[in-house]
Amino acid sequence: MSVSPAVMLTAIGLILGLIAGFVMHRADFCIAGMFRDLFLFRSFAKLRVMVLYVVAAMALFEASRLLGLLPLYPFPMLGPATFAGILGGVLFGIGMVLAGGCVVGTLYRLGAGSRVSFIAFAGLIIGSTLYAEFHPFWKSLLTATTMFSGSITIPQYFNLSPTPLVLISIIPLGWLVALWWRRGQLSSRLYAKGALHLWQAALLLAVISLASYLLIGMPLGITTAYSKIGAMGEQILFPEHVANVSYFATQSISCRNPLTGMMFKGGPGPAMDSIALIQFPLIAGIVLGGAVSALSLGEFTVRHPAPWRQYISAAVGGVLMGLASRMAPACNVWHLMGGLPVLAFASIFFVAGILPGAWLGACMLTRWVVR
């Protein structure tokens, strides 16, 4: 019995998402918290784990590339750096702090029954869909502010093999990670049931990202699907409007899946295309993974309401993240877990934007939300 490529890729996305969601819930792997705590509590503890992730993913991606396992390098849908994209990063940083989690943190917590995360998820879809209304203007701004002659990665710009530049990055960062490890700064005593250390989750997620790159053709990414979900909903209510919005007609992917040979074509519009095939199972898997983890620990609950300020904050944060993930373009998972390890300019500039954004978000959070 042969399995169609679409079924195979759906199963792969679902399984990878499920494992990622499970691992993230067990470790409470909150990327928003890593950046937020830097400013809110002057704590670098969680961000150290992100450095560990980047080092591990860099090594895994580069080793796989050298072995000829990554024919799509740099991976599809990764664009050049733009000045306008940095503004997207700033907005994303504000949004993820106000929402209480990033685009995946929202998903695994939603799976565990968090009401606030459900509101943030709705906001993400609304924001991702709203972006379509001013896409032509923003696209022209992105094009006008493109940097580094449109090169996607640092090695491309300098016309070098990625290996020496990856090594130059890995050696000092790896030395730092080893130093933190020796000082015991990568782990703390755990009290939660079935908890994983953040460093364990970081290493597992690096392997999951590599598996996604090898099997699907790109690391984890989900935010184009948020626009698609919004477009699908909007099409039921305003089909003529959706047909006339240029963003929904764009094609953000056009490449061949290295595993099955299937041609990927698709975009943020309402059609059930390759974006739906790649990203819908991943989203469903992460939510399911969070739910399985929470249920197995007896921690799944929708019973506890939050103060009204927090629902408003989650909604505003979700909308901002949704907008920003299209403006940057792409989200923190795409850039931090996929782009940074291949030294993508856009991802480096996204991080440069997310830092002041997280600071602004932390200021807003303590001033207006958690008082």
Binding site: H25, A32, F41, R189, T301, S313, L365, V370
Partner: protein
Amino acid sequence: MTSAEPATIEFDIRGQICPSTLLTALREINRHATALRRGEITLLFLTTNRDSTHTIPESAGNMGFRVEVISLDGYYAIRVFGNE
């Protein structure tokens, strides 16, 4: 002479946005620091936030307080008390 049992002040922060638990805990520990040190009160934080089950003990420990974390019916109870 027998000393009186310390009074418990409870904060139910279950279901709240991510940093709310730690922010509330730090604020209340600082507010009640003297009474905590004297052993007059203990603070009890109820949370569904897994992250705070190690961030609160770490922060309270750094401030010189003792902490116990108890897993209850789908949530955690974090008790902060003084050394006495």
